[in-house]
Amino acid sequence: MKLVIAVIRPEKLDDVREALVAAEITRITVTRATGHGQYLGEDLYRGQIHVPDLYPKVRLEIACNDEFVEIIIDAILRGARQNGGKVGDGKILVVPLEQCIRIRTGERGGSAI
């Protein structure tokens, strides 16, 4: 089992979700996040362009069985790129997942995902 974590642009959330749903990946956790990569973006307030220290981002977490990892990565890449890929599009992290337990039934492992 793997945990796929993606940090993406907030405005790309709809596109990523559509791509995931099209790939039949429907179990997902989404949180608002703030962070920084190489990107230097701009906000506009009172005519002044501001370059914030930290940017609003959206963080997705998807737990999956190993065979789905590439499907998920493909879907996120399809949805999250701006105009074929720009600095600030985000990152995808894949980490091994030790255990998964469904609270309702107590079942464990791959079938609980």
Binding site: P10, E11, K12, D14, D15, R32, T34, E42, D43, L44, Y45, P52, D53, L54, Y55, P56
Partner: protein, 444 residues
Amino acid sequence: MIRIRKDWSLLLAGGTLSLLAPLTASASTSVDSGVTAWMLTSTVLVLLMIPGLAMFYGGLSRTKNVIGTMLHSFAALAIVGVLWVAVGYALAFGKGVLGGFIGWDSGLLFLQSIDEKVLESSVPEYVFAMFQGKFAIIAPALMAGAVAERIRFRGYCVLIALWSLLVYSPICHWVWATDGFLFKMGAIDFAGGTVVHISSGISGLVAALFLGPRVGYPKTAMHPSHLVMTLIGVGLLWVGWFGFNAGSGISSNLLTAQAFTATQAAAATGALTWICIEHFHLKKITSLGLASGILSGLVAITPAAGVVPPFGSMVLGAAASCVCYLALIMKSKLGYDDSLDAFGIHGVAGILGALGLTFFLRPSAVTALSSAAAAKGEPWSMLQQFGIQSAGVGITIAYSAIVTLILVVLVEKFVGLKLSDAEQKAGMDHSLHGEHGYGFLNLN
């Protein structure tokens, strides 16, 4: 309408029936500080409705569209606020030209000729012009609710500027100017049921049908981003509505008190009715339901406020909630996307109030109407009044629908009106304004 209102206040005060309009201004009339103070207060109350509407609509929109949606209301303040002083007042309240289609008086451009004028109702004409101006501002802002979350800001600005001049001003002239044809016909619209709510509701529906649904509608759930803000907004609207309705008599007397009471009674009844319906239909009472009930009641009583006694206003408020509740169910059945229910609440409750008021007129209003009819040598009956009301409603619907359709087609062609799918997905705040609301949710 203003003339008839004046007649009633005179009748109620035991005076004789005057056929002089209060708009017949003269420099010699002295200012009544009491009436003027209330009219200034009313004007500010109606102004308060615009940030109230921005909060109401903003809270109902999705997180990514809150700035864009609130800007629709504030943009109306900026755009119509300028247009009204420049030409809007002249178009609405100047002498009828083009066969009474619209008003015109070049002296009223930039309000030049009213600099020292006091109306017969003892209010400086500036106060009347500013009071009416707030109505002109809120009408297009209401319409924006139907097309929220998918309209380009620049196109919206051009659309409401043209709409204000070509839809609002003519209808306002017909209904409220003393030489308007609906006014002369005897159509009752106390505070803007047809002029503001039906015109904006129908225009919103037409624009919504033209633009088509938002990306993902109705499959994707589109939750309100901030119902707390929506509730504060509807509270401000309720407070402001006392200026809207109780100020529309251009007086501070018995008529004001009657309109004031009817407004309160209808709003409360509308709210209570809506939550009762929800209780039986959904087994749960929702805050948005209560807010919608308040609005339905307020909209329905708007055309009727000065002419309907408390019981009648409560019937109208209750009926409005029932009909609007059904209208929202119908919307989901029919599948059109009136994003924030500008038509479902304002259009529907406005039509109900403008037609329904006929059956609940207070005796003094009936007396005034029948003597006004007798003066023209015509009989008066409730059915006949219903016919006049229906004509007023029908003409408003037909005119605003046709002209709005032409306007949206032209603006889409020459300026661009609909947001692309990609821009809608990113949200108006990001794609149009480069800002984001709710920034406080992020550590930054």
